[in-house]
């Protein structure tokens, strides 16, 4: 009987070999794929149970992990939830957004630069600890922007972005409506799923950061880009006379649809010339439509793209909405782009970059939000270096445009942003929504002090009780921009 016993033993050997090969397949070859499976709760839970680093504004945490007495060990909390939610995003069992997402490597402790500290932790059997991230946000400016936007009414929708002109640091970034990330970071997963569903279904889209994720027609604020393009091309200086007119029939059009006006503001008679300053102060659509035509589609696009249009440049909150300046346009459309209509669209961040670039001698800096990455014990691992995005226009051009914008605040539609004793450069904007039952979007961009700026602001009000007139942008946006600038200058 020994021969069959030997056969049986070979059979058993094959059984065990099959088991071993299969175990190796599952636990080694397939391990990566299994860990990447979005349904794999272990991976998510491991991330969720880590002591995540803090997100700091100055030394104050706006997101931090505190010990909790449940199986997840740590609870993510947001001390100033509503004001900072668009920046920090949320860290929930189901995912993360904004800085919580883009800085996840540092915050979770997975970043290889944290490895040395963590290996020591590993040997001393301490749980892994994430590093901290400091933001470029100026707390006072952020507060001023938040308060100003919130004061607009019951449920205002809008965004404010303030940039440091010569570095690209984001000093303030506010978006309304907002949400409470604490509710999404809760360990009561049922409630989180419910809340998440509700926020996603909300037509006002509170989860979007209106600073960089929503683009709208910038309206008259785009006139500074048109002016910069024209001056840079050598067509005009700040002291030149530009074409005026109470109405202007766009090329290639006839009748009401192609006829633009200035809603009653004084822009001279048809066929006359007016000072460039007057055209800017009174936000003359007729003038800028003609100037855009003189500049030409190609150079308009070149200048707009110099400021950042049609580009991706902001990596700290994803995805970034790409501000658009249309290409392949005819002459009528070109005229409309001159005052920020047709298919021109911009995020508040983009318009803040326009203001900052003009205040910085035409040099546009790459905007950023994360200043430093630190280890858990606050050793600096990396500090973001300011990076030039492009030289949009020459320094001379920038200075000429600044003159125009200063007089717009001093004598024109942007007067609500005036700060006593300081020259402020600013421009209002009110863009048509294209829907008769909706109020227009109000815009305001400014920087101060005009000759040697420290801050550039863009305010966008998407929906509030806005009167349908050009002054709306100045009336509503001006005071907010002023408050933010004052907060930084102080």
């Amino acid at each position: 009987m020994n021969k069959p016993v030997r056969t049986v033993s070979i059979f058993c050997l094959l059984l065990f070999l099959a088991l071993m090969i299969n175990a190796t397949y599952v636990m080694y070859w397939k391990a990566g794929a299994l860990n990447d499976d979005p349904r794999n709760r272990r991976v998510i839970q491991a991330a969720y149970s880590q002591e995540r680093g803090a997100i700091l504004v100055g030394r104050t945490p706006v997101a931090q992990s505190v010990k909790s007495n449940d199986k997840y060990l740590f609870q993510r909390t947001y001390p100033k939830p509503l004001m900072y939610a668009p920046i920090t995003g949320y860290f929930s069992y189901y995912g993360a957004t904004a800085v919580e997402q883009t800085q996840n490597g540092i915050l979770s402790g997975d970043d290889p630069r944290l490895f040395v500290t963590n290996t020591v932790d590993l040997l001393s059997s301490k749980p892994p600890k994430g590093g901290n991230v400091t933001l470029t946000i100026n707390a006072a400016a952020q507060q001023a922007a938040f308060d100003g936007l919130k004061a607009l009414g019951a449920n205002p929708q809008g965004g404010v972005v303030a940039l440091e002109h010569n570095t690209g640091k984001t000093l303030a970034m506010v978006s309304l409506p907002t949400y409470d990330p604490n509710a999404l970071a809760s360990h009561d997963l049922g409630a989180v799923a419910e809340k998440s569903k509700q926020l996603n279904a909300d037509p006002t889209q509170p989860l979007l950061n209106r600073g960089s994720q929503v683009r709208l027609p910038p309206g008259s604020t785009f006139k500074v880009v048109t002016a910069a393009a024209a001056i840079d091309k050598g067509l005009y200086t700040a002291d030149s006379q530009v074409p005026g007119g109470s109405t202007y029939q766009l090329p290639l059009t006839r009748g009401e649809t192609g006829l633009i006006d200035n809603e009653g503001r004084d822009c001279g008679a048809n066929g006359t010339k007016i000072p460039f300053a007057q055209a800017m102060e009174n936000s003359c659509n007729t003038s800028f439509a003609q100037i855009a035509g003189e500049v030409g589609a190609e150079d308009m696009a070149k200048t707009a793209e110099g400021f950042g249009f049609n580009q991706q440049y902001f990596t700290d909150i994803l995805p970034q909405a790409t501000s658009e300046f249309p290409t392949d346009i005819d002459k009528a459309q070109l005229g409309q782009t001159g005052f920020g209509q047709f298919d021109v669209s911009a995020t508040p961040l983009q318009m803040a970059m326009v203001a900052a670039g003009l205040g910085n001698g035409g040099k546009v800096m790459k905007p950023y939000l994360v200043d430093e990455q630190q280890s858990a014990d606050y050793n600096v691992l990396d500090k973001t270096d300011p990076e030039e995005l492009s030289q949009a226009v020459s320094a001379g051009t920038a200075s000429e445009v600044t003159k125009l914008m200063v007089s717009t605040v001093a004598n024109g539609t942007a007067s609500p942003a005036a700060i006593p004793g300081i020259d402020v450069a600013g421009k209002t904007g009110t863009a048509q929504t294209g829907q008769t039952d909706r109020s227009p979007y109000a815009w305001f961009i400014s920087y101060a002090p005009a000759e040697n700026p420290v801050v550039a602001v863009a305010v966008m009000i998407q929906n509030a009780d806005i009167p349908r007139s050009e002054i709306a942008g100045g009336l509503l946006g001006g005071p907010i921009a002023k408050a933010v600038m004052e907060a930084v200058i102080k």
């Binding site: 069959p4 030997r6 033993s9 058993c12 065990f16 080694y28 397939k30």
Partner: protein, 468 residues
């Protein structure tokens, strides 16, 4: 005559010292794992480590001493492997307990398992003490066959039988619940071996040759058909694919070994494939199992494949060296302490430990089959082969099911899984294997022993070797 006498003169050494050394290693595994669980989960060595270790060591020493006295030539590797597996299983079950405690669920599995282990060792000792020669078991061929059938049928009886998670393989008597199939497994091996020994010639020699394969006679197909029906009955009425596969496979292997005719394997294999195909066509739950096996991830959302997929995730999460005790989440898998204990081990101790565990099972099987090869009597050979293959098949069915090699079936992992019936039955299996190996490894009976009664006669038989 130098050559043959040198071969005949080969004597197995007792190797009890080696066994003791291996037992110390095994205890290091078991007690060390228990300490590691405490360190990993609570950050401190368990307070009862000393008492626990002493208890485990005590059981081990008792088992060792009994072997030393009543089965001195027994295989020295079996007991240490079993102690290591049992100790590792206890530690992993304890780890699951700690996770369950945090969730306010029942968390006394390890305590109960230790009780079962104690009972297992007692029965192990009793088996070795009572059965001094395994051949006496041959007398109980039909008794144990009948007992096995009765035990298998018990769960079907109303009143004491219970259906738990779809399988009707449990009986409840008072506070105790029992999986009689585990005990029936041992009895069945004895019964089949006892039946085959006298009938093997008839089964082996008669028959005709078809396509190079010797097929058995029609009338000899009787027992195999009975076994096939029993297996199918288990499958259909108790919905226990694992046991069904185990019993039938076990029977086929023993039949093949007894008759030395591969024809039986062909017949049995065809019957199994046919039966499995019929079951697939006829029974929804079998079909469902099969589909889940082929596409586990498609059934995750509906919850039907939650258990195998979570086990797969856990094993992938463990990777090569595992997460370490306390750093995984094995408790996500339902029955992580019993049927799915191998995925718990994989998650926290990694592929390395899974390989080590498989290797230990492989060694048990190897020692059992080696015993069968050197055993001198047909009955002992068959029982050792049966018990060894039972462990091999059971490990294959359960580990293969958990790792997705074959469709998932409910069976316990021998010595590791929580479960009294299984643990006790397996300790008895090891006792039987040790008994057979003791007989087999014992020096060839001194002819003078056999002839003690006649040694006074004029004719005296002496060993040739002694004369030189």
């Amino acid at each position: 005559m130098a050559q043959p006498s040198a071969i005949m003169g080969f004597v197995h050494r007792r190797r009890r010292g080696a066994e003791l050394f291996l037992l110390v290693l095994a205890l290091v595994v078991g007690i060390g794992a228990y300490a590691a669980v405490g360190l990993g989960v609570d950050g401190a060595v368990p307070a009862d480590l000393f008492g626990y270790g002493a208890w485990l060591a005590g059981l081990t020493i008792v088992a060792h001493l009994v072997i030393r006295f009543v089965a001195p030539y027994a295989d020295p590797v079996l007991l240490p492997i079993v102690v290591a597996l049992n100790g590792l299983g206890l530690a992993v079950i304890h780890r699951i307990d700690l996770a369950r405690e945090a969730q306010d669920k029942f968390h006394g599995f390890a305590q109960q398992q230790l009780t079962w282990m104690t009972l297992g060792v007692i029965l192990f000792v009793a088996t070795l003490l009572i059965i001094r020669d395994h051949r006496v078991l041959q007398r109980f061929t039909y008794t144990s066959g009948l007992a096995a059938i009765v035990l298998l049928l018990l769960p079907l009886l109303p009143g004491i039988g219970r259906t738990i998670y779809g399988a009707r393989i449990w009986i409840h008597v008072g506070p105790f619940s029992l999986q009689p199939g585990e005990v029936a497994k041992v009895l069945l091996v004895i019964a089949v071996a006892g039946y085959l020994v006298p009938h093997r010639d008839a089964l082996a020699l008669a028959g005709r040759r078809v396509l190079f394969v010797d097929l058995p006679r029609g009338r000899d197909l009787g027992p195999i058909l009975v076994m096939w029906l029993v297996s199918l009955g288990i499958l259909v009425f108790q919905r226990d694919l694992g046991s069904s596969l185990l019993f039938f496979g076990l029977f086929l292997i023993m039949l093949y070994v007894a008759t030395e005719r591969p024809g039986w394997l062909v017949v049995g294999g065809l019957l199994f494939i046919g039966g499995a195909f019929l079951a697939y066509m006829l029974f929804g739950h079998v079909r469902e199992r099969f589909d889940i096996w082929l596409h586990p991830f498609d059934f995750y959302a509906s919850g039907e494949s939650f258990q195998p997929v979570e086990a797969r995730f856990g094993m992938g999460w463990g990777g090569l060296i595992g997460r370490g005790f306390g750093n995984g989440d094995p408790n996500r898998v339902p029955f992580a302490e019993s049927d799915f204990i191998i995925s718990s081990i994989g998650e926290e101790l990694g592929l390395t430990a899974v390989m080590a565990v498989l290797m230990m099972y492989g060694l048990i099987v190897e020692r059992a089959l080696r015993t069968a090869v050197i055993c001198r009597d047909a009955f002992g050979k068959l029982v050792a082969t049966g018990l060894g293959s039972a462990i091999a098949l059971q490990v294959f069915v359960v580990v293969g099911g958990v790792t997705g090699l074959i469709p998932l079936t409910g069976l316990t992992t021998p010595f590791l899984s929580y479960g009294g019936s299984s643990l006790i039955a397996n300790w008895v299996i090891i006792a039987l294997l040790l008994r057979i190996s003791d007989q087999a490894r014992r020096p060839a009976p001194m002819i003078s022993d056999d002839t003690a009664a006649i040694s006074d006669d004029a004719t005296q038989i002496v060993r040739i070797g002694d004369l030189r």
